[in-house]
Amino acid sequence: MTTDDKKVFLKIDDVSKYFGSVTALSNVSFDVYENEIVGLVGDNGAGKSTLIKIISGNFPPDSGKIYFQDGIIRFSNPSDARRAGIETVYQDLSICDNLDAPSNLFIGREIYKKVLGLEILNMAEMKKKTKEIISEVGIKIPSIDEKVQYLSGGQRQAISLGRFIAWGKKLILLDEPTAALGVRETRKVLDLIKRTKEERKEASIILISHNLQQVFEIVDRIVVLGHGKVIGIRRTKETNTDEIVSLITGAIFVNQGKKGK
């Protein structure tokens, strides 16, 4: 399968971001094609999460443009991005320990019913949907009425992943989605990501992971970031772990971001 005949779905064009005097991203450019999984790898502080947060509308880039489908995107907050069909699973999970699973799954898009013209929280409906979504994720949660603080790391992760299962219709951004998981749960999540790609032909996925084995297993192309720059872009089939590791650790600087495009 080649990516050449595919449409560009998301285009990151010369994006830079500074935090005070710190350069988080410097002239980052790459494309994501339709129905593709792109792995974003790099050492800590390479700018992976910053890039994800720019695409997801948490903050704007200082320069550069992002094209999504046919237009330039300029989100002022994460809700805008969500409405455009961009769903993010954050590294910190964005979970509220004080609330139960349905409340967490539906943060910011709770279901309401109209009673006498007033909007009343519809917990029953949210619970029903939560059961469906969590069963699709495949990680069991013993009781969805419990506050999330009583759940294990994997179960909390399942809630966070449930959000992309439910709403990730177009672009799905996954920031370390298996970080809190055990071996068996990790397996399930990887299968889930692969299945999502197969089932949602109109969706693309960007995956951040430190685990190169995972990256090689599920992604189509790998973008290596280092110190806020694109160090290299490779098709998974045309590279190997050694090369990616050397790119990450800075051992070789060849084909600056050109190969594989």
Partner: protein, 326 residues
């Protein structure tokens, strides 16, 4: 099977601990009723609720702010300021303003003052990112002082009947204020648990980052919470004026710590995101019951503070124990 059993036991223990404040309240009422002569009577029970009204209503304001992950020390001073100003505007006392405004005009003015105090607090918390404790400590100090400065700080009495009747009126031998407090608790518990506004307060108090990531306008929400707290506090103050049939400079002094005690006993976490008004209501009633019991037995009033102090540490310890039952 064992795991299921264990799970169920944990749930029962957790349910027990979640409602512990009501269990403590019932225990106290039963103990006092049996042990203290003159405690057991419907009149005294109504009296207990009647005397919990101001602390109870202020506790609603404090609960909202605490669940949002902030703190409002200004509730007492806002209430005092509201009581003093509303009486000053309306009263016929020679020490009052002399304006002798309509009762409802006084009401509108003090509600606006309450909203302004909330706006002040929210501005510094949201825009300048100053810790709410410090911002509201500042308003705790200056809000009452402004009222005293404007009015000269004289004791004023002599309110028109239109103002006093709020305290005097009774339905079925029960003061209107008691019904009013019940109504406010039901209304604000409903808003907290079932409305978008209330739900987002819990999210904000639980994880501010998550609230922002999922597009909740955190700044606007905080403005609403602080302004609401100011308005509720001012309303409580207005009722205080009606009951006192006047106002003095020291009005409501010490309410802040009673409010914080009621709220903490009621199960609201100071770190945000946790608590309900059902629990806080019990907290307010517990305080009032203890006051009543000590009143009837005529023991030293300082005992009240001894008990209150210990109640806080007991409540907080129970909360800590609760977290061990994961």
């Amino acid at each position: 099977m064992n795991i299921v059993q264990e799970d169920r036991n944990k749930k029962i223990i957790r349910a027990f601990l979640n409602n512990i404040v009501w269990i403590i309240f019932l225990f106290l009422i039963v103990t006092f009723s049996i042990g203290i002569n003159g405690f057991f009577s419907i009149d005294n029970y109504i009296n207990i609720i009647y005397h919990s009204v101001f602390i109870g209503i202020l506790a609603i304001a404090e609960t909202y702010v605490l669940i949002s992950g902030n703190m409002d020390l200004s509730v007492e001073s806002t209430a005092a300021c509201s009581a003093i100003i509303s009486v000053w505007l309306v009263s016929s006392s020679p020490y009052a303003s002399g304006l002798m405004l309509q009762t409802w005009v006084g009401f509108v003015v003090v509600i606006a003052i309450g909203a302004s105090v909330g706006l002040f607090n929210a501005f510094f918390v949201v825009k300048l990112k100053i810790n709410a404790f410090l911002v509201t400590l500042s308003s705790y100090i200056f809000v009452r002082a402004i009222a005293i400065w404007i009015t000269g700080g004289y004791g004023m009495s002599g309110l028109p009947e239109s103002f006093r009747f709020i305290d005097r009126i009774k339905l079925l031998e029960i003061p209107l204020m008691v019904f009013l407090m019940f109504a406010l608790y039901i209304l604000f518990e409903f808003i907290l648990k079932r409305s978008r506004f209330g739900r987002h307060i819990y999210v904000l108090g639980g994880n501010e980052n998550a609230a922002r990531n999922f597009g909740i306008n955190v700044n606007r929400l905080l403005f609403k919470v602080f302004i609401l707290s100011g308005i509720i506090s001012a309303f409580a103050g207005w009722l205080m004026g009606a009951r006192a049939n006047g106002a003095v400079a020291s009005m409501g002094r010490g309410y802040l710590f009673e409010v914080l005690t009621a709220v903490v006993i009621g199960g609201v976490s100071l770190t945000g995101g946790v608590g309900s008004l059902a629990g806080v209501f019990a907290g307010a009633l517990i305080l009032s019951s203890i006051h009543s019991a000590l009143n009837i037995t005529a023991v030293s009033p300082f005992i009240t503070n001894v008990i209150q102090g210990f109640l806080i540490i007991i409540a907080v310890s129970l909360d800590s124990i609760k977290r061990m039952f994961k």
